[in-house]
């Protein structure tokens, strides 16, 4: 299945819920509606044509205006890979956990929660992960984060 066929297949399968983002990459990049995430993940994993059995990565993004969570998925069997992202709300950001679909999402979601403060609904153990155990300074990858010894790069 080549790129055009894959885009068409996914857009026909989830009409109105999934839009293609223009990002200039080889693999297609989709935007998924916020509440539709878990259903979407379950569907692309169980679909025989797609069969996305491998979650490569989950990454958080803070663009300054909105949060994003980017998922990279691949199918080992069908040799497909693509990415999709969702946009949590700015105030009290929260997304659904996809551990039920891909158990490997556990640590990625903990990392996103810890560094960006995006709450993962349904995650079994959201506790301190990468930062020091006695960390009490919030979520450091947020754009507006600050700390006493944090030095921001000068503008020029």
């Amino acid at each position: 299945m080549d790129r055009e066929q894959l885009i068409k297949y996914i857009q026909d399968k989830f009409p109105g819920k999934v839009t293609l983002l223009d990002c200039g990459r080889v693999e297609p990049f989709f935007k998924v509606e916020l509440g539709f995430l878990k259903e979407f993940c379950q569907a692309i994993r169980d679909d025989t044509t797609l069969g996305m059995d491998y979650l490569c990565n989950i990454a958080g993004v803070d663009s300054g205006e909105h949060y994003e969570v980017v998922y990279s998925v691949a199918s080992v069997k069908n040799k497909i890979r693509f990415d999709f992202k969702i946009f949590p709300e700015r105030e009290n950001p929260a997304i659904d956990s996809v551990i039920d679909v891909w158990p490997g999402a556990n640590w990625y979601e903990r990392e996103v929660w810890e560094l960006y403060g995006i709450n993962i609904t349904g995650h079994p153990s959201l506790k301190r992960f990468l930062l020091p155990d006695d960390w009490n300074q919030g979520h450091p990858m947020r754009k507006n984060w600050d700390a006493p010894d944090f030095v921001r790069m000068p503008e020029n």
């Binding site: 930062l131 450091p140 990858m141 944090f150 030095v151």
Partner: protein, 168 residues
């Protein structure tokens, strides 16, 4: 250590005792400076240069420096590489476990002042002198083995100047 430190106080009352004290000072300081065994403590890319310096081309061994895998047997920590905030308590623990007299070389920009992680980093300690006292700073990213050898020679000069009374 207590006896050694009080030894000059007793000896100087004896006629000719000053010669004994200075000779002992010379022997002790020369032996210490010629056998600075360092702890294997490489946390980032500087450790590659440290290994290169320890290998045959630059040959730390001619300064009498051999790596030890245990802080109990080392005299020196060459802090080679970025010290993150999570690593900092471990560095302090290793330093505390070493027997005195003990020395620290801060190798590379990261250990001197945070290096390339000075700006925009929440995770890196900006200089290990917040954690342990540093004897010699070696800037560079990473420093070449020649710089490291120069730093070790500087430390040897410092150690050779020490007298028994200065021992902590």
């Amino acid at each position: 250590m207590g006896i050694i430190k009080k030894l000059p106080v007793f000896l100087e009352k004896v006629p000719g005792g000053g010669i004994v004290t200075t000779s002992l000072d010379y022997i002790f300081s020369q032996s210490q400076a010629s056998s600075l065994w360092y702890l294997l403590f490489g946390t980032a890319c500087c450790a590659i240069e440290l290994m290169a310096t320890g290998a045959s081309r630059y040959d730390f061994d001619r300064l009498g420096m051999i790596f030890r895998a245990s802080p109990r047997q080392s005299d020196l920590i060459i802090a080679a590489g970025t010290i993150t905030k999570k690593m900092a308590p471990r560095l302090r623990l290793l330093y505390d476990q070493m027997a005195e007299p003990r020395y620290v070389i801060a190798m590379g920009g990261c250990t001197v002042k945070g290096g390339p992680f000075y700006y925009d980093s929440y995770a890196v300690e900006k200089g290990i002198d917040h954690i342990v006292p540093v004897d010699v700073y070696i800037p560079g990213c990473p420093p070449r083995p020649e710089s490291l050898l120069e730093g070790c020679l500087t430390l040897q000069k410092k150690v050779k100047r020490l007298k028994m009374q200065d021992w902590s």
